[in-house]
């Protein structure tokens, strides 16, 4: 990630009309936007379109960025809001259930999982979680955001963010333990 000083220089250059600077900005934050969108939006076709729209929005709104937060937090907020709006518009997802009432699909027979599939397995479980849980897990683990930064992006109270993280992790642990635990015991 860029330092505050570098961010300011980059933003000023984009606002000054530099195409090169905006390409730099996209290079730096593409990973963040891709992760947010890929975790929140299920439809493959919508993902790339949404990533494009996020950067168009970033470009059009950059003049209103006041450096009161990190640029990554601001861009993540745009990506989060646009993903949520896109999901609302398409309404392809069923109404969100509570984490405890979800029947998680494991996608394989017990004992039939290779070690290299664990990451995919966890991602599939995360993908079945309600939107808010997926968001906080993505921002916290994948992007390394702090609690205050997640609060800024999602607008949830800090206690709720911590609670979601705690519950999501416990749920994943409970489901994945028979598989991952076995590997750990074998070590």
């Amino acid at each position: 990630m860029l330092s505050r000083m570098d961010e300011q220089v980059l933003v000023r250059e984009v606002l000054g009309g530099s195409q090169w600077a905006f390409r730099q900005l996209m290079d730096k934050y593409q990973r963040l936007v891709v992760h947010m969108v890929a975790r929140l939006v299920d439809d493959q076709r919508d993902r790339e379109e949404l990533c494009q729209d996020v950067f168009v929005k970033v470009y059009e709104s950059l003049g209103s960025f006041k450096f009161d937060a990190k640029l990554s937090t601001w861009i993540a907020t745009i990506a989060y809001r646009m993903a949520v709006n896109s999901l609302r518009k398409t309404s392809r997802r069923a109404p969100e259930q509570d984490l405890d009432t979800i029947q998680f699909s494991l996608g394989h027979e017990e004992g039939g999982m290779e070690a290299m599939d664990y990451a995919k397995f966890i991602q599939s479980l995360v993908g079945q979680m309600p939107l808010n849980y997926r968001t906080v897990l993505t921002l916290y683990y994948l992007e390394g955001f702090s609690y205050p930064e997640i609060v800024k992006v999602t607008g949830m109270p800090e206690g709720t963010v911590k609670n979601y993280l705690f519950r999501a992790k416990n749920k994943l642990k409970a489901i994945a333990e028979p598989y991952i635990g076995k590997e750990i015991h074998e070590l």
Binding site: V14, L15, G16, G17, S18, Q19, F22, R23, M26, Q30, R31, V34, H35, V37, A38, R39, Q44, R47, E48, C51, Q52, D53, F55, V56, Y59, E60, G63, Y118, A119, K120, I122, Q123, V126, L137, Y141, L142, K169, L172, K173, A176, E177, I180, G181, E183, I184, H185, L187
Partner: protein, 110 residues
């Protein structure tokens, strides 16, 4: 926390840090630039229509006033009012142009 539980936590966190398998296709950035250019073209067209409409309304109003007051002695006063109106109109156009160029700063990028 037991050692196994601790290892389980670490493993889970490691797996949660694995990025989802999704990559943007080649030419992604170029498509973003194209989209920005398209949106700017639409917005410029909309501005042009508003300007054209405003000028048309102004001219029609001026013609109606000229027709209505041409036979009365107040034509000189009317022309004076008209010149003030034209000056305000020109200032509004200048303000809009400056706003587009200095505040929005969009047009140079593409």
């Amino acid at each position: 926390m037991s050692r196994t539980e601790d290892q389980m936590d670490k493993k889970l966190e490691e797996l949660l840090r694995t990025p989802p398998e999704f990559n943007l296709s080649e030419g992604f950035q170029d498509r973003v630039f194209r989209k920005i250019a398209q949106r700017e073209a639409v917005s410029t067209r909309a501005y042009s229509w508003v300007y054209a409409l405003a000028i048309a309304i102004f001219l029609i109003a001026a013609v109606i006033c000229l027709v209505l007051f041409s036979n009365t002695g107040s034509l000189t006063g009317l022309l004076e009012i008209g010149s003030w109106g034209a000056m305000i109109g020109v200032l509004v156009v200048i303000f809009q142009l400056l706003d587009n160029r200095l505040v929005r700063k969009k047009s140079h990028l593409i």
